[in-house]
């Protein structure tokens, strides 16, 4: 399946764009996505943390991804 990943903050800088297309196997999880990102873009390994939001909510590592989801990379937040 083809997934569209949105990225903010330093995650956008690492991917080089706000939106990135990734090919993953059907049934892939948030954990699989993070593994893929860490492999393809080693700069992610240096971050303090990297969370994934699905449909505007923080997702568990076991959550299964679908092309219909809004998938967003959330690097360490620093608001306030």
């Amino acid at each position: 399946m083809e997934l569209t990943i949105q990225a903010f903050g330093i995650a956008k800088d690492i991917l080089g764009d706000r939106k990135t297309m990734l090919s993953m196997n059907d049934g892939a999880t948030v954990a699989d996505l993070l593994a893929l990102l860490n492999k393809e873009y080693p700069a992610f390994q240096k971050l303090t943390s990297l969370a994934v939001a699905l449909n505007e909510e923080y997702a568990e590592k076991e959550a299964v991804l679908s092309p219909a989801d809004t998938i967003v990379l959330v690097p360490p937040v620093s608001g306030g």
């Binding site: 903010f8 303090t48 939001a53 505007e56 967003v72 959330v74 608001g79």
Partner: protein, 136 residues
Amino acid sequence: MIKLTDQPININEAIEAAQAEGAGAVNVFIGTVRNKTQEKQVLSLDFEAYDPMAEKEIQKIVDQAKAKWPVIKAVVVHRKGHLEIGEAAVVIAVSTPHRKASFQACEFIIDTLKQTVPIWKKEIFEGGEEWVSAHP
């Protein structure tokens, strides 16, 4: 009231929105852009927000605060975009019947906002820039 805005925050408006009949106390927190982080001279800041999720996460924090303390009204306004030194990045105003709860609820909201709300701060230095807290 929860708001993300790329315009300067109107502090007075935020405080007025938190005023309420039955409130004996309003606590207000204003976070401003400092001209120094550790030893580096900060020239300005950029805030980026994932707006729809940021608003939802702020609403969750306000709901948690209301479950813990007798909050009458809570206002959270966060700036985004480019900020100069001295500008307000965030304003939180909380009204309660008595004072202690206003301090506790306001501090809880800013502390939790900094941990969970998808907003990112980039500090701009002479000859460089850096996403705050991105690296250990």
